[in-house]
């Protein structure tokens, strides 16, 4: 049965919402980051040793899902070398690490000390 043209707007709306839902599983919404968190500046910015320490933290906690090269598995575990992360402020990434996205499989890393989250941010920004 062919769909009627009268249903086309509804079908397009559903398809659009579905696309948004799929996108939501892949990328965090930086526009959901509270302004005060978005504006936070890394206290370790510009410190090369923070990148080295962040690399170690990445290998211990993140590489198991996002892979050693941070390119993900091509399925549920997204690549961390992306325009989306390139465009994110340090504060956005730190907020997302702290919050996680439990509904989509990303644990909260609020249990890591804040300094280690900033070290991880330094590493993630360095590989973009």
């Amino acid at each position: 049965m062919k769909p009627s043209h009268r249903n086309l707007p509804s079908i397009l709306s559903i398809a659009f919402c579905a696309a948004l839902a799929v996108a939501a599983t892949v990328h965090p919404h930086w526009d959901h980051v509270p302004a005060k968190d978005h504006a936070r500046v890394s206290p370790l910015a510009g410190q090369p040793e923070a990148v080295a320490a962040g690399a170690r933290i990445y290998s211990e906690h993140c590489a198991e899902c996002h892979k050693a090269d941070a390119r993900g598995d091509g399925h549920k575990r997204p690549s961390l070398r992306s325009e989306h992360l390139r465009s994110a402020a340090d504060g956005d990434i730190e907020w997302f690490l702290r919050q996680g996205d439990l509904a989509h499989g990303m644990p909260s890393w609020s249990s890591l000390p804040a300094e280690q989250r900033w070290q991880l941010v330094a590493y993630l920004k360095s590989i973009q």
Partner: protein
Amino acid sequence: MSFIPPQTDLRPAAILAISLALFLASSARAQEKPYFVTYSHDLEEPGNLEIETKTAVARPEGSTQYGATALELEYGVRAWWTSELYLDGQATAQDSTIFTGFRIENRVRPLMRDHAVNPVLYLEFEDISGADKTILEVVGHDGQTDLAGPNGDARREHQHEAELKLILSSNLRDWNIAENFIAEKNLGHKPWEFGYAIGVARPLRGQASGRACTFCAEKFIAGAEAYGGLGDTSSLTIAGTSHYVAPLIGWQLPKGVRLSFSPGFGLTSTSLARVYRIGVAYEFDQIGNWFHSADGVAQ
């Protein structure tokens, strides 16, 4: 049934446990608080399996020393849901070594974001005997007299229990502060029993080193926990209940093994005077992938 005769020598078991820990020290990692009784809102990462032994060593008044071990298999089903299986056993000097039962528990985070206070709902089913001495929680009027009887008598008592916990936990700067409220019900005829556990912990150093190290301060987490009984529905009082306070230290070894130690001190006459706890944990990463090929197809 006793598996080994009286006058148990615990040294072979200790050597075996240490050997196993060293054998397992290959490539994984773990990062958790060194609590033995208290739960924080940290759940197992999805797809990971952590194997941990929690051993309690104590000597009830008027009885002999014992060592009780819970072997814990913890699996991250989802980022918001962790499931665990415990297998409990104990060895009592001049008595016997016995298996004392199992526990199945589930922990669920109902809120998908991190908040100032993070609730976790906990549901456990226990099928253990009266000879269980792991003291993974203290409820009601639990006391050292419950731990002093001969294994042959105590194991005749079967306990089918449901346990509910409300876990509230916060990460404040580098500190974790966790409060657990416990309600336990013997599914037979007994009343609801209540208990609590409170814990605080923090790493000795916040920043990680850029180089591999074993004895760096950030590899150690220190803290303390307090736990005890709050009576039951027929006698809701702290009179005649047990309470403990226990400093904690956890050490993250280089290749994924985590050790923890806690000397606990009883605060009331019904409590054990001292209980020493030792934990050894190892985490297997993404065990679900072991059963899938690279293209995601089940093998």
